[in-house]
């Protein structure tokens, strides 16, 4: 079941206490996130950077799915942001922070154009259409060596500029520092995505998902709102792409292939798309599993196989995703304690 989108926060003391608890949890979370890189090895720090970027990728993907449409082109759209930001910096000398924003803008613009053919389709046809659109974009990257670098892609992309002031000097070549940069950008982006979902816009997205004919009949321009969701999701995917490009320093068409899209789908589905935090949980848990468990067992070469198995198992046994596990466990616990509310409805 979706979160009651846009519902006003509960008033009264109960609401105030809950809000305080929520804020405290957020403070702890950020403290933990700030401490995290210092507990990791250098190579693990690099993975942490990519994980933070992937959190934005999968969260932006969820916003698109709110209207009920699942795209197979989201990673390519991320690539649009990566290529655009890289090219702007490399060829036109646009300063990197600005090129990143423009990269997001380019991804959003491509989405706005694509929405005209794509939103004539729904469901399965939209899925296939978005895949085709993505492959066309990838073909363009491969075909046009100037400016996209062909199959080899772009190399030596300008890094994020160092910050040099009198007493402060930050070199973003260091994964720790880029981790904090990504964390700031992604947190701000997630905040915006969250606000959108909790506003009337989010309510309207959900309405279109569940009953687009009824929404249209009371004046919702469903095409415009589907486009809006697609454009916003693509903007943030583009930002994620730009963060990636200026960190890794190279992009190529293969990096944004449909294999990568499958990972995004697995993160989202395994985490659970019904809530805002579900897909985030999915990407974090699966990355940890991947990097720690699989690597330790020497199984990381068969990652696609294992991801496939995880996807099937989660669809069979956890249809609402990992995020529903918390709810279930809490209910179970309350049941054991003989609590009055054994059915356990999720506290908002």
């Amino acid at each position: 079941m979706p979160e009651t989108a846009g519902a006003m926060p509960a008033a009264g003391t109960g609401g105030a206490i809950r809000q305080l608890a929520w804020r405290l949890r957020l403070v702890f979370l950020f403290a933990a996130l700030a401490a995290l890189p210092y507990l990791l090895s250098y190579s693990q720090q690099e993975i942490a950077v990519l994980l933070v970027i992937n959190v934005l990728l999968v969260s932006s993907y969820r916003l698109l799915t709110l209207t009920g449409e699942w795209s197979l082109g989201h990673v390519v759209i991320m690539g649009v942001g990566a290529y655009a930001s890289a090219l702007l910096a490399k060829q036109l000398g646009v300063p990197v922070p600005l090129s990143m924003l423009l990269g997001g803008g380019a991804a959003a613009a491509v989405a706005a154009i694509l929405s005209f053919p794509l939103f004539r389709m729904k469901g399965f046809y939209f899925l296939i259409g978005s895949f085709a659109a993505g492959e066309i974009i990838r073909l363009i990257w491969k075909r046009f060596t100037d400016p996209f670098g062909g199959p080899k892609g772009l190399k030596r992309i300008d890094p994020f500029p160092d910050i040099e002031t009198g007493f402060l000097s930050i070199d973003f070549y260091e994964p720790v520092n880029y981790y904090f940069l990504a964390l700031v950008v992604v947190s701000a982006s997630l905040f915006i995505l969250y606000r959108i979902e909790r506003s009337r816009i989010g309510l309207t997205f959900h309405a279109i998902h569940w009953q687009d004919r009824l929404a249209e009949s009371v004046g919702v321009d469903t095409f415009r709102y589907r486009t809006l969701a697609f454009v916003i999701a693509s903007f943030f995917a583009g930002i994620a792409g730009a963060l990636y490009a200026h960190y890794v320093g190279a992009v190529n068409p293969t990096r944004f292939s449909v294999d990568q899209m499958v990972y995004v789908l697995v993160w989202a589905v395994v985490g659970g798309t019904a809530t805002f935090h579900g897909p985030i949980l999915g990407v974090v848990v699966l990355t940890v599993v991947n990097e720690i468990v699989l690597r330790a067992l020497g199984l990381d070469t068969v990652r696609p196989l294992i991801y496939g198995a995880i996807l099937i198992l989660s669809v069979l046994y956890l249809p609402n995703g990992l995020e529903s596990l918390g709810t279930r466990l809490r209910a179970r616990l309350q049941h054991w304690r003989g609590g009055p509310d054994a059915t356990g409805s999720e506290p908002a």
């Binding site: 309405a207 249209e216 919702v220 321009d221």
Partner: protein, 265 residues
């Protein structure tokens, strides 16, 4: 064509809608006077819902035109028509089943609660949202559903769901409300209550056009009734005249014989 002295608020001229070889609506014309409760009846499959779908922009007409307040609206988008004040309900319970009752109405108030993207993001739409919520609760109170505001829709009994469907449409503040079988599946008590509500909606200045199989309700409620059969106009007139028209009786008896069970009981 009947001359009532009032100007028509909604009019169809030569409306036709084909599905492949099937002609669901066939050169159909009617006109609805402002402030009326206008019935549209006919046997199953006569093309009533299709007519609504064409008027409300869900389907483009294959031929013919629709006029709303004198303006040619044929083929316009449903959402644009809603913004002009033409809103329809659906046959059967078409609701946001996963939402609360109040959230259903809040979506219904989509047009009345405008705000820019940035003000949604920054939360400066709070004032207009609060107003929208107040109006939504008023709408709920009008239908006697205010107690159920926070219930999930799926918990509501059928009768209440039908009412809520009408409430969602009314929240969009229509000038013309198209109701597709508003009384279906209701018991006599609920039907009586709904009829009173439809009258009150009309008193509030809303023109109502309704499709309904409950003949007693239709005859009691409507000022004018249009009867269609096989997609085409059969008869139009006052309830008394329509009730006793041999062609109407023939059409219903014919279809009743064919179906084994007719709706006119």
């Amino acid at each position: 064509m009947t001359m009532q002295g009032e100007r028509p608020i909604l009019e169809a001229r030569g409306l036709t809608r084909r599905f492949g070889g099937l002609i669901a609506v066939d050169n159909f014309s009617f006109s609805v006077s402002e402030g009326a409760i206008h019935g549209l009846i006919g046997p199953n499959g006569a093309g009533k819902t299709t007519t609504f779908n064409v008027i409300s922009g869900f389907y483009a007409p294959s031929a013919g035109r629709v006029f709303f307040r004198g303006l040619d609206i044929s083929g316009r988008k449903t959402s644009a028509l809603a913004a002009m004040g033409l809103v329809r309900t659906f046959q059967g319970s078409t609701l946001f089943q996963e939402f609360s009752v109040l959230d259903n109405i809040r979506v219904g108030r989509h047009l009345g609660a405008r705000a820019g993207f940035l003000s949604r993001l920054l939360g400066t739409d709070r004032q207009s949202e609060r107003e929208a919520d107040e109006r939504a609760r008023e709408t709920l109170a009008f239908f006697g559903l205010e107690e159920l505001a926070d219930e999930p829709v799926s918990n509501l009994p059928h009768g209440h769901q039908r009412m809520l469907g009408m409430a969602v449409a009314l929240a969009a503040e229509p000038k013309v409300l198209l109701l597709d079988e508003p009384f279906t599946g209701m018991n006599p008590e609920e039907t009586r209550c709904m009829m009173a509500l439809v009258r009150r909606i009309r008193e509030g200045g809303v023109t109502v056009m309704l499709v309904e199989h409950d003949m007693q309700a239709v005859m009691n409620l409507c000022d004018t009734i249009t009867v269609m059969n096989f997609g085409a106009l059969l008869v139009e007139g006052a309830p008394e005249a329509v009730r006793n028209d041999p062609a109407v009786i023939e059409a219903y008896l014919g279809s009743a014989a064919a179906d084994g069970a007719g709706h006119v009981a």
